[in-house]
Symmetry: C3
Subunit: 343 residues, 3 copies
């Protein structure tokens, strides 16, 4: 896709300084741009690059006063960062439009209804008794089990697997390799030391605007549902166990895991490689630092936790500083003991 | 599937109080049930819900004496929890029966034999020289490499990948996205700083009744076999490196990892996000707490470990308590030093 | 495949002691070998096994002097371990040659060029505008998005997913289930507490001789590229976030993760379950112990780090030793305080 500076200035409601007919076909950082690229200057730390940038077009603030000559065409706007984001979204919207139609072979079970303008990649599988909304994109190698419902405008990237009975909302984006609805990890110990599987009959519910990262796994409930509420964003390689519930607009970074039946509140921020034990509640707006282990419920809203096991964030930082001095502290204790025994 | 209260009472050898012809078609928790659901009351903590429950049928103990009127039909049994488990298993057995037959297209290599009553999902791939047992379920997008053998009654969920030469036992359940038999991580450092791959020629052996969770990876041995013994249960996103051996009936929770050539004993319980170094042995019936790091062999049976690096479980809990007091301890030491220097 | 002792001796430039016509068809450890196997004796710890080994052929050093009768045929070489490695590589090269040709059905988009001697597994998908090199192996269920380029001699194992626009070098090996080019985890917080997706428009670049382990995920850059330089080896279940760069010949063990925009140097060794925060730089030849958390840049080359948060490796070992004594230290401090208060 190609656009002229003039077309972009119109989209961004900006003013052009330079050649309005220069053509751009790609986006780049200001320090990495080449001919045909559009870049932006928001953080003045990057100002030196604008004078040497090879990008064809650069978006700048109306407050920006150049100190040297600039070769690129400028588009002058109120907020260059915001304008660039608008541009990115427009670009993505246009590229997303490309995938449409039905590639063959694909498999659709009986009694399944599929909405308008759906993309079906080759080798994608949709079971029987499913309801697929409109404008859904089902990439190649996606598996949708029997009785699954998928809302409008949801994207299932290649190799997503959704077990039977699960419910996916509108405007969700599920990255490649994600598994939704696999059996929860439940086994009853037997007298001979072996384990008997506890049947996992529940489902997984994803509400609207949920994003799930690559190869993340979300187990179905033993009974009832594992529920991911509206606006939740999960990164890659995360584990969500059976009967977990995650509140609205909570975000979790990569490789974190939540054990069975735990309820996470709304608006929480959970960093990477965090582990949370089962059967607890974590209050709204809780922050949890990377690699932390949460071993009991967090009752008060808006608190910060860190460490394994996690304690108050600031207390943890203090203990971490002293931890490094442990060998020195031991020496001092021993010295003092010697002194005291002489007294 | 629909059943009458009468049919279910017969299965559970229970007595009906209420309408024997009421129909149920789903299972639900007592507090979440609606018309057509069957629930149970085992823990008396939940007794209040029985008086307002909208489930059509509720399984109760013969010792239960209602304090108010109950709208639902009751099935009275010796042990409601046990009866409900029986019901779950029966339900799962029936639903599992649904998937049979061959969906097309599927791919089968030459010289491969496939047993009776096998489900072959569309887009499933079975290579050449394989032996597939009876009553096996091979879901869509499963890959079975050349020379693989799969025992009777084993289930391969969507997108399971089994590399060539591996051997899978009877009654195994492999969840979606699992990779079995990928190359072990072995590289020989070269004088120029680069690494040369060490060929990985071994296989993976899963004995009978092994369950593997979604997106878990089990590498093939360099030579010989990575062996998962009978009755082992692995959760999601676990890493099992080359030449590892896991003893019978050991269970491992999500996101744990075992490094190369380590031997884990029988009946161990390993919590989530645990790491175990390579080339060690862990004795039978060892328990390991979440996020622990096991850096040396565990020789004695039946011990418990916790922390990174892991020490005795109870010692770790004691150290963890004191750890929080570190800043305070440092202050005390400094105060005492001042006092002592004045003497 | 079968070979005679004579054929193998010729390949290894070794001398035969025993029957030159004995046939081998498998490789085994000296203590596990059976008829038809070839083994080696390099570490003299294993010498006792050579006298009872049932392997048909054993590779030994020219310096080895038997103390008893040996039933196996010997191949005498300068360095038995090196010779065995050569043999392994030759074996793997031959077995790798087996997979060739096009299995059907497979899908290829328009305007895509594919080199000579490429293996296309059934149900593999290659989008439009791709360039696929020669001698590439594309196993079943592989997804290659639009506009992807793949170098010569690269192997994509079953179920690999490569999003559109990414560039893969020559002689790369990508294990089953790997996801390359998924959207980076970037969301802009909105005033109402929800998050808006930041479009991820960059790509992933893998240079030559890069190996990626099973189910590892590598996110595309927001803009520009996530870059994995030549000779990097990544284990299973690793997370590489958007805009990360990993220097030549760095190796990372399983379940480690690198957060967004971090640059890792060349020749680093990163153990398992390590977490590295975003927006930092890690110098060349840095070593990081298992389960460590790297929270700030490492500026000096060739240093070793350990712990969460990581400090100097040796300092960490010292603090870890003292950590176990914390309850005892607290007691001593309290005792001394009592003594001092009496003074």
């Amino acid at each position: 896709m190609e656009f002229s500076a003039k077309q972009i200035a119109a989209l961004l409601e900006g003013e052009i300084v330079g050649d309005p007919d220069v053509v751009i076909n790609n986006l780049a950082k200001i320090e990495e741009g080449s001919e045909g690229c559009i870049s932006f200057l928001a953080n003045m730390k990057y100002e030196p690059f604008i004078y040497s940038s090879r990008s064809s077009v650069i978006i700048v603030s109306k407050n920006f006063v150049p100190k040297q000559e600039i070769k690129s065409t400028l588009i002058v706007v109120n907020d260059p960062y915001l304008s660039f984001t608008v541009l990115l979204q427009e670009y993505q919207r246009l590229t997303a439009l490309i995938k449409t139609g039905i590639e063959e072979p694909s498999f659709t079970g009986s009694n399944t209804t599929i909405g308008a303008d759906v993309y079906r990649g080759a080798f994608s599988y949709v079971g029987q008794n499913c309801v697929i909304g409109s404008h859904v994109k089902i990439y190649p190698h996606v598996y949708v089990g029997d009785g699954v419902s998928i809302g409008d405008n949801t994207i299932l990237h290649p190799g997503v697997k959704i077990y039977s009975g699960c419910k996916i909302g509108n405007f969700c984006t599920i990255a490649a390799g994600v598994v939704i609805g696999s059996d929860g990890f439940g086994f009853a110990p037997q007298p001979d030391g072996s384990y008997k599987n506890i049947p996992q009959l529940g489902i997984v519910i994803l509400e609207d605007h949920v994003d799930i990262g690559a190869n993340t796994t979300i187990d179905r409930a033993t009974m009832g549902a594992t529920i991911i509420h509206q606006g939740v964003k999960l990164d890659n390689l995360i584990q969500i166990a059976h009967n977990v519930e995650i509140g609205r607009n909570t975000v979790m970074a990569s490789q974190s895991g939540i054990s069975g039946s735990t309820k996470i509140g709304e608006g929480c921020i959970i960093a990477g490689q965090v582990g949370i034990v089962g059967h607890i509640k974590v209050a709204n707006k809780t922050s949890i630092g990377a690699q932390s282990g949460i071993s009991k419920s967090v009752d008060k809203e808006g608190t910060s936790w860190f460490g394994s096991p996690a304690i108050d964030f600031k207390d943890q930082l203090k203990s971490m500083v002293v931890y490094k001095k442990l060998p020195e502290m031991l020496k001092k204790i021993e010295e003092m003991e010697r002194k005291l025994s002489k007294n």
